[in-house]
Symmetry: C2
Subunit: 148 residues, 2 copies
């Protein structure tokens, strides 16, 4: 198994705590949502996030997500200014977490994006398979995301 790090200074060994320490803030999961469901891949695109993330926070979260192995960055061969951020396997594996969080909120709060919710509810497994294959964002949005 490549990629299981011992992690030096966790508050506890609990796997939920590990998730919370990596993802338990107001922005990380929203960035992952924009990558997974909206096909966003560049800094500038992430700045267009509905919720209005601050630029220094975005830079910090991208750095941390890379450090955790949830996303990776590579240079755009077509444009030397751009970095392209991509979900790793570990990042794509967050799809079930995002899905359950969406379904929970949609079931208990007044929320929008009912198209997404319906898709998730109708066939959760199919939706997750779609995310793994990378078509979820194109399915749901204008999705300019070409394959990496």
């Amino acid at each position: 198994m490549a990629g299981k790090k011992p992690s030096p200074e966790r508050r506890s060994e609990c796997p939920l705590n590990a998730s919370v320490e990596m993802l338990g803030d107001r922005w990380s999961l929203l960035i992952i949502r924009d990558m997974m469901l909206r096909g966003f891949r560049t800094y500038k695109e992430f700045m267009e996030c509905y919720e209005g993330i601050a630029t220094n926070i975005l830079a910090d979260r991208l750095r941390k997500l890379v450090a955790y192995g949830i996303i990776r960055a590579e240079a755009d061969p077509a444009d030397g200014r751009k970095l392209i951020y991509l979900l790793t396997k570990k990042g794509i594996d967050l799809a079930p977490v995002l899905t359950e969080m969406v379904l929970w909120a949609a079931g208990h709060e007044e929320t929008g994006n009912q198209a997404l919710v319906r898709l998730m509810r109708k066939d959760k497994e199919k939706f997750l398979a779609g995310v793994r294959e990378g078509w979820a964002s194109r399915q749901l949005h204008r999705a300019p995301a070409p394959r990496g």
Copy 2:
């Protein structure tokens, strides 16, 4: 449907954002874990959380979780000093979220509590049914939690 509140000032209508605004911090989900999986019900018990929550933060999070309708508090008829905190339906419905977060971390990080992880992996649906029926905490821990 009782209990769907319009929520005045969300950063966006996205259901994931709604979840993140309610649960996206370093403590809320750990408190819910301790209620759901360890059978904790009082302030003093929550203070024993593995990760060492500060008392003012605990008070704040309990207040917010009550305000969100995720937990509720009732007086202990047997001891006037005690308040008993209980998960609502909305709170119990977080079981799939917690489960996926646990499985994700356990699959990608070095973590402990493998008994819990095995139970979740072996039969996720059965585990979730157990949480709903309230036996999960007794299954997994010393669990002094009698029924409410």
